[in-house]
Symmetry: C2
């Protein structure tokens, strides 16, 4: 059997908790990704050759790409795959912000898993890759797939169930655009999860359920006004809004400028807005810049599309073994 | 302007709380309906000429078809419609069981509203009719549209929001069949609603949300296995099951016989099962009969399709006014 000498995987960023879809709905976006290069290195184990950022851990069992790589190797062995007696080195390049709410930890995990899987001959299928990444994500950002699934598969993903694993890729209206506004704020995922209510009034739960269902119906029926009408998060956004100065002002400005809807991307602090055209998205981006500026909060704002490709692979020369 | 002398409307029965879709998802079914005939009668007001059943009230402001008729007249007047100075008589024929969980009160309301609207020249549009029926349903069975919407519009309906009104009709896979098992049990809607939990653990709410979204995705993508995998109600069914002797045994028998899923129709006691073929549905019907028999509970079981027409109208001769 031959193995590639080196593989690089590029995993797009993603919006988790898409609107009302807490833990359940996520979307990949274009224009920013994390990349992981996997290559044969040393005698055994997984080595982080470059963690991608001075703040990120350099141990494989602490870095999200290393954790995902280890989980891939373990699943491959459990599936009876014979692996070469060699070690693997990982080099991560972070295109996504740390703790930004843009799915950075998920993208590093996905890129690590996909790169290592390709390096060892691609034995794992989609669901095994999702579960390997879930192991990694669970130890850094909580046990949910709403970033991992779109980062791996592309598009908008519905995580119907984790146990058993059941992920559905939803259609993406071609006119749909995303505006991402990343204010210069620190919000740790753990803190953002801690403020979520542990129980909910039944009426709130049913309304949220109706809104997520409305988003799913809107994506299938290419009904962007319905997508906008369904973009109400009654659970995470009210709880987290207090942690995010400027969010309320910025969201109102986005809606005023014609966004279909806006909410917190993942656990924040990134705000995302959905728009029904390129022109509209740039108008909303302008409004978001002005809104954060009016609050004296520096913010990076950009327009993106939904990434429908998911993780891409570059493979270097094949070497015989 | 001319008005018909007499109009009869036939509104199909419906499954409310379709699986996990408490208050949010409902489906009309074929083979049983309530009919209301509206005709000019007397000097003024609405008179119940026949309530349709000895147990049903004979006052218009207590009978669901009368309440809906009154709400239609009020909305028509509010919209500036000039109505004849005559009274209206209503004759109801009940094809659906009382307190059966088959959307009988909703069907009588819908048939009453549609018949009266047609009698006065059809001034009200869909959403006004839904709201008129909601007024009626709210006073007898709670403020929800998951029976009314499919009974009026046909098919499977998603009630995205009541305020403002937002109802989405979902596609119906052609192979989908419904089995209805009506055990000889009394379960009052008020009692069935009283046992619903007023608050929910967040994880339960999110899982229910994922399942309803999975059902919506399944209907759009014609994916009946996904429909089955999504048919888990973690809110109403666990709470109401204890009120329904035999339900657990019957549900298990339906699944064992190949049903995609099974749950309580509306507030019960009717059990419904979804199936992916005619042959499969008859096998499940057989299993349900045997299961209830083994519990010594008499039950009426039948196979139906999803009714995609909604309420049908028969108009008698037009008379000039």
């Amino acid at each position: 059997m031959t193995f590639p000498q080196r593989v690089t995987a590029h995993a797009p960023g993603s919006i988790g908790n898409l609107g009302p879809g807490l833990d359940v709905l996520g979307a990949a976006f274009t224009g920013a990704s994390d990349s992981v290069t996997a290559e044969w290195f040393g005698e055994e184990g997984v080595t982080i050759l470059d963690s991608g950022h001075p703040s990120l851990p350099t141990r494989a069992d602490e870095h999200t790409s290393g954790l995902a790589a280890l989980a891939v190797l373990e699943r491959a062995r459990a599936n009876g795959v014979k692996l070469p007696h060699r070690g693997i080195g990982l080099t991560t390049r972070k295109g996504l912000p740390l703790s930004g709410g843009q799915g950075g930890s998920a993208a590093s995990a996905v890129a690590g898993a996909v790169a290592v899987n390709a390096l060892i001959g691609g034995p794992l299928e989609r669901n095994d890759l999702l579960l390997a990444c879930l192991t990694a994500e669970a130890s850094v950002a909580g046990r949910h797939l709403d970033n991992i699934a779109p980062s791996l598969m592309g598009g908008v993903c519905l995580v119907r169930s984790l146990d058993p694993l059941d992920v559905v890729q939803l259609p993406v209206p071609t006119r749909l655009r995303v505006v991402l506004a990343h204010p210069d704020q620190q919000l740790r995922t753990a803190e953002a999860r801690a403020v979520l209510p542990t129980s909910l009034p039944r009426e709130t739960a049913l309304a949220q359920m109706a809104n997520v269902s409305g988003m799913v119906a809107a994506l299938y029926s290419d009904d962007l006004p319905l997508l906008g009408r369904s973009m109400h998060d009654l659970i995470a956004e009210p709880a987290r809004q207090a942690l995010l100065p400027g969010f309320g002002v910025a969201k109102a400005a986005a809606i005023e400028a014609g966004a279909l809807g806006a909410s917190i991307s993942g656990a924040g602090p990134t705000l995302f807005a959905l728009c029904d055209s390129d022109v509209g998205a740039h108008r909303v981006a302008h409004a978001l810049r002005a809104a954060y500026e009016s609050c004296s909060i520096p913010a990076q704002v950009r327009v993106a599309r939904i990434d429908t490709h998911g993780t891409r692979i570059e493979t270097d020369a094949l070497v015989g073994r």
